[in-house]
């Protein structure tokens, strides 16, 4: 156990999440400490996004509690929760144009008063985040002219601009090429190493094995397994959860899971 006087970044206590009458998870308990990276795995429609939104405080749980830095969302002063946790939502179509820099600056919203405008400091933070996502040369471009992968990196940059303590990521690798997949995961690993908590929905089991400290596996019927990555990621559990047989291939250093 790390010695950290601060409360865990995120905790779920006997959390039951439902969509309609269907259970996404029942009686889920976990704590996410600073430095942890939790990956949520499960088949399509298992409720991963619903669970992530519940953990983000955007949706009420059926039962149980979600604690952000030790307190339920409702206990934080209104608006302050957005300084503590950020959510990368699944990409939505843009109907109106905006520049890349303007879009990155939305991450400063929680820090600005009602009448404030983004200042030079905010702009410097936004430009730094754009640089981290390799978008600094596109700062003045209109968003609709970007490719899908560039837009995804822009969404991530806007999240970095928010500078939360907890990062909740819904399929952060969508539309990204191999290089940027690894670069993005490396970046969040370094953020975790410097004191953030990360929870994300992924579909790539092998990248999960490489980057997750903990894994939550949803079986799609309300059941779940959660624990250290190496304990949860077994062929038996993964095969059952995804409804497709998997094989593990080990070369001594890495274990790769491939569809059988």
């Amino acid at each position: 156990m790390k010695m950290d006087a601060r409360p865990p970044v995120l905790a779920a206590e006997r959390l039951t999440v439902q969509v309609g009458r269907r259970d996404v998870c029942r009686e889920l308990d976990f704590t996410l400490q600073a430095g942890d990276t939790l990956v949520i795995l499960g088949r399509n429609g298992a409720g991963k996004t619903t669970l992530l939104h519940t953990l983000a405080g955007l949706r009420d749980a059926a039962r149980g509690a979600v604690l952000l830095s030790g307190q339920p969302y409702a206990a934080w002063p209104r608006g302050h929760e957005a300084c503590l946790r950020g959510l990368l939502a699944q990409s939505q179509p843009d109907f109106f144009s905006a520049t890349v820099l303007e879009t990155a600056l939305v991450g400063r919203h929680p820090y600005l008063g009602r009448w404030d405008w983004e200042g030079p400091d905010d702009e410097a933070i936004a430009l730094a985040a754009l640089a981290q996502m390799g978008l600094e040369s596109l700062a003045t471009r209109q968003v609709p002219t970007l490719s899908g992968g560039e837009r995804q990196r822009l969404s991530i940059a806007a999240l970095l601009v928010q500078q939360p303590r907890l990062y909740l990521l819904d399929e952060p690798l969508a539309h990204l090429d191999l290089h940027h997949q690894v670069a993005v995961l490396d970046h969040f690993r370094s953020l975790a190493a410097s004191g953030a908590g990360v929870a994300m929905v992924l579909h790539d089991i092998n990248l999960t094995a490489r980057y997750a400290s903990h894994v939550l596996l949803l079986d799609g019927e309300g059941g779940h397994v959660i624990g250290p990555a190496a304990e949860v990621l077994t062929t038996a559990r993964l095969s059952a959860a995804f409804g497709h047989p998997l094989r593990a291939i080990a070369d001594g250093e890495h274990t790769l899971f491939v569809p059988a």
Binding site: A82, A89, Q92, R114, T145
Partner: protein, 339 residues
């Protein structure tokens, strides 16, 4: 990072805002010029000097009388309603996240038309026509909101579809009333439908609401920027989306209802002015809302002045002119901005 800032310093947010502020100042100037033109042009042309004397002086005379009691209320009504419609259109486009949205998309003009034409059909006095339009507009708003809100999850699509259906129903009722109306009343009904500022004798409530509406919307402008980017993102950044949507819906409806009551359902301003302004200064609502308000006022005031002067003594319905001016300007701007 210093390098990054320096590289984009000249094209960063600061420069964008300076350009936008210049555009706003320019719009204020254009508004004053259009006002002067509107007050001086007509069957009795008035010079700028005489105009100032008539507006500031207290002495009577036909010239002062025409300016103070005929042209001024009409110009103010046109400006205020143009502003109301453009502001409402900008708000609706964000609320529905749909560039095709306009103030009438949720059936407000249809409801107002049913109310107003019903009053005309019944032979009511002009005050009752206004009342009918206002009640009809708010009735349609409440109907759409109530139906779309049914299961508590009013998505934009559901709201939009409900609005379109209610508008279609109102359109049928309007057509029915037109076909049943006696010959003598049809022309008045058609003028009301196309929009007409000539009967606007009490423009000050509309102008006051314009100021109040803009002042009410501006504190939420940055939140509207987030809402335009998507509901989940906005909520994750701390925006109370439900409350914001309710505010935008209510405000947009009220602005539109008052505009429609004052000058009839003038088309086009609410759809096209926000887009025109967006093409010129971008989509930051903090600048877009005041700029669209000014531009909408300018456009309707200019169109109304042209409507009563170009083929004088015949008065054209102003709604026809807004479309005739707006369509080519919009197409030109759109063609100039290739994506």
């Amino acid at each position: 990072m210093a390098q990054g800032s320096a590289a984009t310093g000249g094209i960063g947010m600061h420069a964008v805002r300076r350009r936008a502020a210049a555009a706003l100042a320019g719009l204020v100037l254009v508004a004053l010029m259009v006002f002067a033109w509107s007050l001086s042009a007509g069957a009795l042309p008035v010079s700028i000097n005489d105009l100032l004397t008539a507006l500031t002086g207290t002495e009577g005379g036909m010239e002062a009388d025409i300016i103070r009691n005929l042209r001024l209320p009409r110009a103010v009504a046109a400006f205020a309603c143009g502003g109301l419609l453009a502001l409402a259109g900008a708000l609706m486009q964000v609320l529905l996240r749909n560039p095709l949205a306009d103030p009438y998309v949720l059936g407000i003009s249809g409801g107002a038309a049913v109310g107003a034409l019903g009053a005309i059909l019944a032979g009511a006095a002009s005050g009752w026509i206004d009342a009918g339009a206002f009640v009809g507009a708010l009735g349609a708003t409440l109907l759409v909101f109530g139906l779309a809100h049914g299961d508590g999850s009013w998505t934009q699509t559901r709201l939009l579809l409900t609005g379109v259906i209610v508008a279609a129903g109102c359109g049928a009722a309007v057509a029915l009333m037109l076909s049943l109306a006696p010959e003598g009343r049809v022309k008045g009904m058609l003028f009301w439908l196309m929009g007409d500022a000539s009967g606007a004798t009490r423009p000050w409530p509309a102008l006051a609401l314009l100021a109040v509406g803009l002042a009410a919307a501006l504190p939420f402008a940055r939140e509207l920027n987030l809402l335009a980017r998507g509901e989940v993102t906005a909520r994750a950044l701390g925006v109370r989306v439900g409350r914001l949507r309710g505010l935008v819906y209510g405000l947009g409806s009220l602005l539109t209802a008052v505009a429609v009551t004052t000058v009839g359902s003038v088309g086009f301003i609410g759809l096209i002015v926000p887009h025109l302004v967006r093409l010129a200064i971008g989509n930051d609502q903090r600048l877009l809302l005041p700029a669209a308000t000014l531009a909408g006022g300018v456009l309707l005031c200019a169109a109304d002045t042209a409507a009563r002067t170009v083929v004088a003594p015949i008065q054209l319905p102003v709604g026809v002119l807004t479309a005739l001016i707006g369509v080519p300007v919009f197409l030109f701007l759109l063609a100039r901005h290739p994506r």
